[in-house]
């Protein structure tokens, strides 16, 4: 009987080796291990064995069953693997073909510049204030200490709605509005549109954008203005940027300064971009004029402060190498998608 079992195992092995499909393997299993299978048939003869022989043959029979089972499972796995391999081979794609584009839109490059600047200043504890585009002569000029005969007030420079109302020519009017509304300490920036009576060309636009900054507190110094703007410029243009503070004149600050940054294209050696000077004019700034503080209802003996302002259109043009300001307002999709 033991011999029969061994023979059965050999036969099964041969059949399993030859099998090349799941179906054949399944029928092989049924043939040998099924309820009516050959192994069962053989085991029916167990009754004729002696009690001593029975456990021995039983053990062999179990071994044979398990061996066949394992062989069939292995063979099945092999067939599945082969099938998967064939499938994978048939599914090769040309991964160099183009991806399916999910179209993204862009914020306007000027908005992107504003976002970048806002983030830096928010990080430095500034809040964002807003003011009207249509502004009074008082806030736009008078309150900012602009001389009554200053040429910037001319109709050739400023758009007027009537004698007392203009399109703001700068974001600085927000300074006095902020002083009136808030109590020191004040730390604000104010981004926005401005207007000047300029015929559009590559470097002029009747509408442009500025970002204004204002800090008011006790004991603010020119040194604080320098320190604050240095932190800002390094955050904006990089840690290695150098800054130059030059004296300048603005009616609403005294002392006043213009601030240059080392050219961010050549690092300050001089190139086409900075016209050989190594410097890029970045912003205007200064200590808030006592008259402006008074106009904002703040006592200049008790409080001081500084203000700064920068032209965003020009900065954005410099940053991206845009050579015509009009492109910003043409809004050609092919232009806007570049940023």
């Amino acid at each position: 009987m033991e011999k029969k079992l061994r023979e059965l195992l050999e036969n099964a092995k041969t059949e399993i080796d030859l099998a090349d499909s799941m179906d054949i393997l399944e029928s092989t299993r049924v043939k040998y291990l099924g309820k009516k299978g050959e192994l069962t048939q053989i085991l029916r003869g167990m009754g004729s064995l002696s009690p001593e022989e029975r456990p021995v043959v039983g053990k062999v029979a179990n071994e044979v069953r398990e061996t066949i089972q394992v062989l069939i499972e292995n063979a099945k796995a092999a067939i599945r693997d082969r099938a998967l391999e064939r499938q994978l081979e048939s599914e090769v794609i040309d991964i160099t073909m183009p991806g399916k584009e999910i179209e993204l839109g862009n914020k306007h490059p000027l908005t992107q510049s504003f976002d970048e600047l806002k983030n830096i200043f928010i990080g430095m504890g500034f809040k964002i204030a807003e003011g009207p585009e249509v502004e009074t002569v008082y806030y736009n000029f008078d309150a900012l200490n602009a001389p009554a005969n200053h040429p910037s007030r001319d109709m050739s420079d400023t758009f007027y709605i009537n004698d007392d109302i203009v399109l703001r020519t700068q974001t600085s009017p927000v300074q006095v509005r902020a002083m009136e509304k808030m109590k020191p300490p004040i730390r604000i920036i104010s981004p926005g549109r401005c207007f000047r009576n300029d015929t559009p060309d590559a470097t002029h636009s009747p509408m442009f954008h500025q970002l204004e900054g204002l800090v008011i507190d006790k004991g603010i110094t020119l040194g604080d203005l320098k320190g604050t703007l240095e932190v800002f410029v390094k955050a904006f243009l990089g840690e290695n940027t150098k800054i130059k503070f030059r004296p300048h004149y603005f009616p609403f600050t005294e002392p006043s300064a213009e601030v240059d940054a080392s050219c961010f294209k050549c690092g300050g050696v001089g190139c086409n971009f900075c016209k050989g000077s190594g410097w890029i004019e970045l912003l205007g700034a200064g200590m808030v004029h006592p008259n402006v503080l008074r106009n904002g209802g703040i006592d200049p003996e008790e409080y001081g402060g500084f203000a700064f302002g920068m032209g965003i259109d020009r900065l954005t043009m410099l940053k991206y190498g845009i050579d015509d300001i009009r492109l910003f307002f043409e809004n050609d999709m092919r232009f806007l998608k570049q940023f």
Binding site: E103, F159, K226
Partner: protein, 798 residues
Amino acid sequence: MLVPVKWLKEYVDIDIDTKELADKMTMSGSNVEAIEEVGKDIEGVVIGKILEINTHPNADKLVIVKVDIGERQLQIVTGADNINVGDYVPVAVDGAKLPGNVKIKKGKLRGEVSEGMLCSQDELNISKSVIPVEQRDGIWILEKPYPLGKNLLEVIELEDEVIEFEITSNRPDCLSMIGMAREVAATINSKLKYPEIVVKESEKNSSDEIKVVIEDTKGCKRYIARVIEDVKIEPSPQWMQRRLANAGVRPINNIVDITNYVMLEYGQPLHAFDADYIEGNTIVVKAGKSGEVFKTLDGVNRNIKDNMTMICDINKPLAIGGVMGGEESEVTSKTKKIVLESAYFDPESIRLTSKQLGLRTEASSRFEKGLDVNATKIAADRACQLIEELGAGKVLKDAVDVNLPQKKEEHINIRPDRINKILGLELTYEEIGDILNKLEIEVKYNSDNTIDVIVPSHRVDLENEADFAEEVARIYGYDRIPSTMATTDIVAGAKTNAQNIEDMTKDTLTAMGLNEILTYSFVSPKGLDKIRISENSIKRNYVKLLNPLGDETSVMRTTLIPNLLEVMTRNFNRKVESFKAFELGRIFIPKVDSTDQLPHELLNLVIGIYGDGDFFTLKGIIEGLFKKLGIKGHTYEVEKHHPTFHPGRCGNIIYEDHIIGTLGEIHPKVMENYDITTRAYCAELDFELILQLTRLDSTYVPLPKYPAISRDFAIVLKDDILVKEIEDIIVANGGDLLEEYKLFDYYKGDQIPEGHKSIAYALTYRHRERTLKDEEVNAVHEKIINGIQTKLGASLRE
């Protein structure tokens, strides 16, 4: 302000090179815009005298010239037609080098030997704008004999460096060589050397020849007249011509050049009258007569107003004071006697006059900024000195000087402690005083720890402590002020809620593939015609500009749609196939009945698409945005009467009784107005309302634990029944079990009767606390379908 360095050095010792000087000046407040080198790259150009001019045998337009250059004579072929025998000219000899890498070689021109070139000023790199008119298109004719054969550069000072300074509007005193020399002296710690003015005068008294009366005491505070006889008009010497040219002023003749020279030197404009035209030997400064017409020396008739200050004789006007002289009394080559004017005109008055006339001259632009009233006399004397020295005329004795009482010298009290506090410095009183002294500001130290300062008359800009703080800071050096951080209490920086929502809106729309556009706040009133807004619409109540650039930008926008459509047109014309864009910007609505108040500025959001997408793409964008902003409970209502939109494809977005906005397909007639030949879709939304409706405070709802049951149905119903009507019934009957409904199929065509459509919905039912039974769902679902069938006359599709 162009400052030739050699000229500058006449008034101040400079022992550093020009580049270093420029850097230092920039740091003390006189920003250097450029340094130009003039007269460079010239080699082998000598003085020559023209001996003969002969015709060229082979060319009509050329002549053969014989030139004496001292040791020899040259034959030169030239095309010049402004030369005469006896003229002294610059000659570039064989081997000479000219600016622009030009090398001169002996050669033949049309068969005739040419041993060099006669030079024009242009060829020697002198800017066309300062070449004397008669020599602009020809050879440089030197004004007098120079030693023949001498190198041009040795006899005429051509080489110099010219610094271009940016002068801020508060510093008119810097618009002069002496003004700049003062700045240089203070900046590099050098000494200022004023010109020594000694006028050789004749015996005759000026006052016997001319009288001055100031009637317009508001317009003119001081008037000085000096008389010069035996005037000989001729070119001024080369040294003066070169300095003027380098400073950007074209040489004309000795008298004009001297007045310009002194103006550049001291900042004081001068004017010379031909004395023979002055009737009654009297100058009367008086207000103009309105209606009077006066011809200025540029040949233009000017309409005079009574606020203008006129310089007249006893019968007629001679000049518009401080602006421009008259044609008649202008100095000409025949002038024998002149009256030289040096005056102080009121800045305000000059500004107004110049504005009214639309005439801004070098003189007016200086007077209107405010001049040094003490320079009036010095400048007159200086000009007379030069006239006498250059042999241009005989100067009569003394000046006629009518000097009205001036403002007294200003004493200002400043607190050094306060200045230190503003600057973040700890300078001593003496250090501060020394710096101010360098700027010719006199100081007096007081016992109460303050300083009294006396401002020199040329500094019209110094008024208060802050001004002096700046003077101290800029001379001390901005770069030496230590950088510090304001030690204020830390406040968190932040955007306002509205600013956050605006940013979120832009982020969401760009994530959905839209590009942000920015367009002008001012627009053409025709825009509303183009989008077919009715004549009496309140949208036509604009904020109008008094002085727009043109009609195109003459009113503040009351809607963003026309700008959007213009951007669409531009893109469409440029063959951009697919367009998706938005603008979040302000519209301007005048306050009712009060033009003296600022208008309302309201944020609007406009969205536009063409090419890829349709009405429902647009609606999907809006729904996506609203979802992000947490806006719920709004509905869409059919709008058939908005003139901008397709009457069958337009709707209003409603929230309670507010209209959030309108969306739709642009009306074909509007499209025609903009020349766009495709379909386009647009929505304009009231962003102020969106800000109010936005709810960003979302709370967590636990994920469902029990399974959902889905049921679909398809119905056929009449075309004109809105999907909204179906959905109202679904919602009304769905009760708590209905979790979601979704339209998944819309069909018209075969198997559907004419005038009908097939709509299919997928409904999802769920109970949050237990597994639903089929029977429960069936009951609700049937109720919904029954409702739709009975109320809308729909039939269920099996």
